[in-house]
Symmetry: C3
Subunit: 357 residues, 3 copies
Amino acid sequence: MQRVGSGFTIEIMKLLELAEKTFAVVEQADENVEIASAAGLDIAENGQVTFLANPKYTPQIKTTRASAIFLNENVEPERGDIAVLRAKDAYLAYTRALRIFNPEPEIVPFIHPSAVVHETANVAKDAHISANVVIGANCVVGEKTKILPNVTIYDNAKIGANCTIHSGVSIRENCEIGNRCIVHNNSTIGSDGFGYAKDEEKHWLKIPQTGRVVVEDDVEIGANTAIDCASVGETRIKRGAKIDNLVQIGHSCTIDEDALVCSQTGLAGSSVIGKRVILAGQVGIAGHLKVGDDAVITAKSATSHDVENGKIISGIPAFDNRDWLRSIAAFRRLGEMTRTIRDLEKRIAKMEKDEST
Amino acid sequence: MQRVGSGFTIEIMKLLELAEKTFAVVEQADENVEIASAAGLDIAENGQVTFLANPKYTPQIKTTRASAIFLNENVEPERGDIAVLRAKDAYLAYTRALRIFNPEPEIVPFIHPSAVVHETANVAKDAHISANVVIGANCVVGEKTKILPNVTIYDNAKIGANCTIHSGVSIRENCEIGNRCIVHNNSTIGSDGFGYAKDEEKHWLKIPQTGRVVVEDDVEIGANTAIDCASVGETRIKRGAKIDNLVQIGHSCTIDEDALVCSQTGLAGSSVIGKRVILAGQVGIAGHLKVGDDAVITAKSATSHDVENGKIISGIPAFDNRDWLRSIAAFRRLGEMTRTIRDLEKRIAKMEKDEST
Amino acid sequence: MQRVGSGFTIEIMKLLELAEKTFAVVEQADENVEIASAAGLDIAENGQVTFLANPKYTPQIKTTRASAIFLNENVEPERGDIAVLRAKDAYLAYTRALRIFNPEPEIVPFIHPSAVVHETANVAKDAHISANVVIGANCVVGEKTKILPNVTIYDNAKIGANCTIHSGVSIRENCEIGNRCIVHNNSTIGSDGFGYAKDEEKHWLKIPQTGRVVVEDDVEIGANTAIDCASVGETRIKRGAKIDNLVQIGHSCTIDEDALVCSQTGLAGSSVIGKRVILAGQVGIAGHLKVGDDAVITAKSATSHDVENGKIISGIPAFDNRDWLRSIAAFRRLGEMTRTIRDLEKRIAKMEKDEST
């Protein structure tokens, strides 16, 4: 059911329908209760659904004004006047509710008269091309894709269906973007990799960067991020990977499915990041490495070695996270440790002297 | 008084007037001396005012060709042929002189015919809108605000008076910029925060980012910086904060008044940076933290814990700066320390053996 | 010789001609063999030239399908059915071959009707100005320079001949770009430096940034990089320097000839980087430093001190690379070292006690 508000539609949903759509079960309260939106425990109001995922916030269940709450199994609400939606993963169910109550706006088929679309470009009829967008020769733009103002798409680039390309983005020649991708503002996809050979006079001779970037389906790329084309072949961002703001991805890297690359992380060339890997903020990855599936590199760390599947590593250079935690604890007392060792040396020297006399 | 040069005006000012406008006192020389501009000690010429702030450069007072000099209290010029402007803070007074002699150019009311301004946008009559700017529905642009070419302002954004928005900037839907703000080129304000829930198949499900960014008065934001909107509510940059180039500010953060966030610093989500805090270059701040007023985090450091007011911290992870200085001094000799400990172990083992026999 | 393929020309070259143009010598096989392109050892096909630089890949010589191979002196192919091009530096010769087989496309003289070029700007007749480019008053654009869409060039900027300025770039007022420069997408050249004086109320007062950026010949600048103008005078990037993506160069810095500044490196103000210096990825350089010619600062390192010519340094703060390698090896065992010291203390205390009794 939809009710029309000031210029946009608001979803209103019966509790039972919400439960079905979020794969939850109504455990307590009237299934006909109506929910209009979703909000956090502390700010939710009557008519809203909320959630509890972190046990730290359990006491807030007592005081929330929400009408309904997603709860993980084994968590008791300890009050009867709130609807309980039981879920395997309350946070995930709540995210689904948020997506229901905050749907993406409909794409209105449109080409702004100021857009410069090359005559050979193939733009789907129901795409939305905003003001001052420039689309080069032989480009393809898929159905229901929205391109915001001042975007530049170079020749022979291909963008799939249901994408959103935000203002200021540049997509370079021959690059390919899958379906349902989002690229945030001012990011660059397909700029030249950083490759030079040193000549006889110690000047740098540019190595042609003739490859491209392929971004598969369901990838999101943050703002002001730069992804270099391959020197030869492809830089590839695989299905479902998420790239944050201000990230650098060097030429010929592969980011595998469902990997998370957090803000300001940088990858040199030709590295392969495995499935579901998490590179936390400001991480550095040297060239020609393999980071195994499900590995985690914690924030501000860097590695110049391969990383095994599932490992959690930290530090510069990074090693096992638990060892690193011990090392950094000791590092804080390193000044003191220096003095202790000097003291031990003196005491040993004294004993040695005593012994010899 | 103004004299017109080649296309721009030059301020010429009597020493007395300059002193008044910079809150300084003429202590030596004729108050009718005319000053036309300001320059550093080593390059200043006749007709210019200079300054001494760092005692290291005191000998240069003898050789400067400047006509006048701002001096802190207790600093003697030791020559009589230079006008002395005594100030509580010579550097501040000199900065005021620089601002007098390098005024911002006047804003010429203007809308370039290529600008695409939505019919519902409210642009002040004396604003300056350059070529290829795109301004969305219901936007507000205040008086004497200048928007340079190729800027995109999404629907429902609001920009105050006397701002400068440089070319290539994107300001996303619903965001708000105060008065007298400067946003440098290619920065992004209001891109989506980096938030996902993991679904049953270990794919990332995007959490709607429905909040916005509010930038208060007198904020300056550098080039190629990204400030994410809040997931819900506001990311807020408070009055007088200064943000450098290539900075990442995650969703729902608050940067309090007069904080300095230097280049390439990154903040994960929901952290609160106190008043007058300095985050030096390439600092990392984890999520959900509070950095207290007047704290300083030195360059390349990172913290995943709250920071007390006024603390200076360093390192990854960061701790008290003085302890860190001791630790890094010891770290340089850590290879040697390892050998020392091994040697001590042997000597102790030998003595233990001797003792037992 | 050129053969025309599907829309672009392909170079086909006799082995002897290729050898001459790459300063190599044909050592084995028919000089009339024709080569059409260049590719890596593992993917090269018949009709292609390849190379061996890293001895690790020597076994691949036996299996490559390439028709010719560049080899360093003293490397034997150990098969007679491949043409050998002997070179002093096989990698350099191969790079030259790549450049021959992947020439830059010809610049077509052109000004798109949507470009906004100020009447006082001086654009060379054979320059290529794309859609939605904005060029300010008194600008100069040199011969055969190509400016891609949505670029903004502020007043009084000057761009030399044979440059490529990619989409989304902003070049600020008074800046100057030499000949044969490439600036990748969404970079900013000449934004204000980050300079403030603290006033009596602890607010930051902006110091006017009145200088500019000068980029000399043969410089390449990556995507989403920010180079600040000098506060006074010039920030200067000298001949042949190469700057990667997402780099920050603060006001009044000098990057000397043939320096390499890798991705996400940041320089505070007024530092001087010497000739052929390599700043690896994510390096930090504090203000007012001098990094000597041929020095190398390894990835993720930072320095707040001058660096001698030719030194290789690492760490935060950085010191001699070999010492650092020893320190980080010890750092991994620092938790264990703490326990060892505690154990030694106990054993010494026991012996001291024994001795005194």
